[in-house]
Amino acid sequence: MEELSQHILDLAYNSLEAGATCIEITIREDTAANVLEIIVRDNGRGMAREDVPRVLDPFFTTKDRKRVGLGIPLLQEAVDRCDGFFEIEAQPLVGVTVRALFPHNHLDRAPLGDISGAISVLLAGNRSLNLTYKHHYNGQTFCFETGEFKNMLGDIPIHRPDIMVWLEKHLAREIANLREAEKNEEHQRTG
């Protein structure tokens, strides 16, 4: 995977495969503390605690299909490559929370990449998913919720290509604003 947003997308599809109807994606960037943290939480069927170490094994899968579960080992590898921290919290019937923490400025940390594209793609194929996206950047927060967005759309279906293209651009703009706000402030101060 070239971007962290691809790992996030992969985690989201794991959640969907586990029957999740709600997914919460949180990204926290704190450049002073040198942290980029990703948390993906779902309400899927979860798994037994004793199975958690096993999902790190590429040849373990709980899925019915004969699939080799490469997603989690790939993410762990991305974390380990830059001495980050990785954790899976799981309970049967409650859901799974995956947490990955990276040193923000590490040279081997993959870029976050196209997260707005990842969100619109996820929603385009999963219209009934309740998704919450929270992005914190140095104390500022941007939040997107499908529930609120669907209310704004009224009787227009969320997954329409024209709506999804609009949403992708809207999210890209908002997230860029969030991450740029501080830099702009600095520019203003210096002149």
């Binding site: 997603g71 385009a124 709506i163 908002e174």
Partner: protein, 119 residues
Amino acid sequence: MKSIKELDELREKIKQEMSAREQSHEVIITVNMGTCGIAAGARDIVKTLLEELKERGLNEVALTQTACDGIHKYEPVLEVKKGTEKTTYVNVNPDKTREIVRKHLVEGEVVKEWTTPAE
């Protein structure tokens, strides 16, 4: 807020379109979003599809996704289902995706050279 005003305008436009046109979901496009698919660029394929479908006014086409890992060397895989006819395109990229929408969905012609060999 500029973008919210934009959304209101888009909503109005869609409402008019929706009442003018009968809903048809006869075309279903499926993209494999398993780990291999994502690693091979499936996200950009769906993004390109959304943009191209919007550009061509094909907003009623249903888009679905599977997360089952197929055969790595064929990813990204895109499947077009039109009624009972099913076509699987392999190793697609954004350019091929736009071409598939144009030829297959608009002109109704399967792009044979990008489909799986029939055994």
